[in-house]
Amino acid sequence: MFVLTSTQQQLEASAQRYLAERAAPVSEERGLYSAWPQLADLGWLGAAVPEEAGGYGGPVEMAVLARAIGAAFAPEPYLSACVLPTVFLSRTQTTVEPLQALFERVVSGGSIVVGAMDGEETVSFERIAGRIRLNGTLKHVVGGAGAQSILFSAADAKDPSRQTVLLLGRAAPGLLRESAPTIDGRESSTFRFSALDVSSDCEIRQSLQAFAAAREVAIVGQCAEMVGAMERLFLMTRDYLQQRKQFGQPLSGFQALRHRCADMYVEYQQSRAALSVGLRALIDNPLAPATRLVSACKLRVIKSARNIGSQAIQLHGAIALTEEYPLGRGYKRLLALEKAWGDSAWHARRVVEALPSGQG
């Protein structure tokens, strides 16, 4: 597993302290980004990118922050609106000058770019008369409301195997956006492109590999966020078992429940180990992280999350069903993270993609 450097430990401690001490951050006007300026001041917005590329950290720092956000059940869309765009921009800014300025604005919190990942619905593009025409839908873009631009990939309408990356201002005329609240207290946008005509400046050519790599980083970030949430649910449950009394004794006196608590510990530890597998993949091959390992990480983390989530509720009993008790928020956060950017089935395919299909 990862041993944090002392600087990383300080980052972790300060992140935990900040998140624990602040008042509920969400305001009506800025929504999920209410505290974004504070995150910028704390240096969070550049923490996923190494210093040599203009940031303050790297994959481990990214995971430390994602994990702290997970443990706090914090609403900020750190992965879609910070990790994905900053990692992408840090790798493409060297070749495309305006992106350098954009990268700096994103890290300082002056501009918000939200990244989207392919789902069932995709976006297609055509090059027409020196411009680009877009058709399709982008769904489940967490933090779309409040972002200035969206970053996404699109497939060539004439040959879907050819893709490109686009960075589009939200104010593009004709771009339709609809918001929906999510179960875990965030916001999810759907962008519809109906023969939308945009400048070819929106296309960032030769950046597919950078986009793919940024997505792998963000997926490992999801796993880190899930590990953080799981840690909190596990500890909440352990504490509850010691406090709650029925039949004249604390629940922690009943052997059946002691064993279940032990099982949660095991799953939590395995989820941390799985996260280290994902982080190792990012560190060993930053340009093209091994998708098999990233997906194995998420697949294993999902398994732990299901175990820990359902055990946490069951061991708490009815109180866990109330919105007031914090457990439910963590449970719903785990569910939302599980389903975004590839569910178990999606990641399972990538784990066994290299499996030979067998002779005859």
């Binding site: 789902g119 609809e178 929906a180």
Partner: protein, 398 residues
């Protein structure tokens, strides 16, 4: 089951189906199919339609306005209702307190309460659990102190489903704190509008308001509202649970889930093809169908046994354990089927006319119900309590 009995049950099913098809308003069915908790208005509509047919309390004896149906007929009717999209009706009046009143109540209580319950003109709340008494229900502390012809009630009940639309409450209260905890419990009926009764909403993680906490502060309740003698409350609670011995398996709800899964298999597209063609989905669905067939057979088997069966209680606990877990597994497959759409927050139909257009029509209610059903292994006796009951029969202490 003998051929003649099976044939009779089938023709009963046909009759039920025909009635429901003729009488269930389509708009009501469209709302109920989503899987959110039914509003009071929807329960009144459907409950009163059933009453008009003489079917609002079909398991009650005929002398009390029931149709005298067998448990097997009740089960079949419940299934047909679920499959047709009938709204779920609260169990509190017809299925829980009603039988206690007609079995153990005074003449006045029977005259006063049974007819309004039958007519769906009176809604009830169940006051059993307390903040300090969940699994250990017998440790309950809500106190009913004798004061002349009344009791003065103080304490609190929690997790009261539909308490906010209850006209009356049936509560387990402590009338005697001196002996064994089960012995000092009495069964008391309370007017929810009594001074000193405060009902506070509890928002649950499914984003709905169905649960409540009720506070009793010096509430005066006539002793005439006590059912049976003092100290009989615990046995009435056991009676009430025994009545619902097979329905606690919730097999009809599982059947509704299965129907929904079949629909999702056709509607949901994965990689350009319907989910019905996904081998992983097919495999999981097959296992759940097999589990449900076994559960249904299990329910029928328990229905056919008589009360002297030594391990009947263990079997009832088994049904609850299996049924509650099957519900959750089916709910899990529904959530997995809709993928990222499961993360969208949808309001129940009585709170929101429309969902955002990005929400496919088959989505609303799935996640909400999935979240609520985390409680299926907690309500009605948690999975741990059920295992205690089974093991105490298999492995008696001492």
């Amino acid at each position: 089951m003998a051929d003649a009995a099976a044939a009779a049950l089938n023709s009963f099913r046909e009759e039920s189906r025909a009635f429901i098809r003729a009488k269930l308003p389509p708009a009501l069915a469209a709302r109920a199919r989503q899987g959110f908790h039914s509003s009071k208005a929807d329960q009144e509509i459907w409950g009163r339609l059933l009453y008009a047919r003489g079917w609002s309390a079909p398991a009650w004896p005929k002398e009390w306005g029931g149709a005298g149906w067998s448990a097997a007929q009740m089960q079949a009717f419940d299934e047909e209702c679920y499959l047709a999209g009938a709204p779920e009706l609260s169990w509190n009046g017809v299925r829980l307190v009603g039988p206690v009143i007609y079995t153990f109540g005074s003449e006045e209580q029977k005259q006063r309460f049974l007819e309004p319950i039958l007519r769906w003109e009176m809604f009830w709340g169940q006051g059993f659990s307390e903040p300090g008494s969940g699994s250990d229900l017998a440790s309950l502390k809500t106190q009913a102190l004798s004061a002349g012809d009344d009791y003065v009630v103080n304490g609190s009940k929690i997790w009261m489903t539909d308490g906010h639309f209850a006209d009356w409450l049936f509560c387990l209260v402590r009338t005697d704190a001196s002996g064994r905890k089960q012995q000092g419990i009495s069964f008391l009926l309370l007017d929810a509008k009594s001074p000193g009764v405060e009902i506070r909403p509890i928002r649950s993680i499914d984003n709905q308001h169905t649960l409540n906490q009720v506070f009793f502060t010096d509430v005066r309740v006539p002793k005439a509202n006590r059912v049976g003698p003092e100290g009989a409350g615990w046995s009435y609670a056991k009676f009430l649970l025994a009545n619902e011995r097979t329905s606690s398996a919730e097999a009809p709800r599982c059947k509704f889930y299965l129907q929904r899964l079949h629909r999702l298999a056709q509607c949901v597209m994965r990689a350009g093809r319907p989910l019905a063609q996904d081998p992983l989905f097919r495999m999981r669905l097959a296992e759940l169908e097999a589990d449900l067939l076994a559960l249904e057979a299990s329910v029928l088997s328990v229905l056919e046994q008589n009360d002297t069966q030594a391990d009947l209680m263990a079997q009832a606990s088994m049904l609850k354990l299996v049924g509650s877990h099957l519900l959750q597994a089916m709910g899990q497959l529904m959530v997995d089927a809709i993928g990222p759409d499961a993360t969208l927050l949808c309001a129940p139909p009585h709170e929101a006319e429309e969902q955002p257009s990005s929400v496919p029509s088959y989505v609303p209610g799935i996640t909400s119900d999935y979240l609520y059903r985390r409680a299926s292994t907690i309500y009605g006796g948690s999975a741990e309590i059920q295992r205690n009951l089974i093991s105490s029969i298999l492995l008696p202490a001492g």
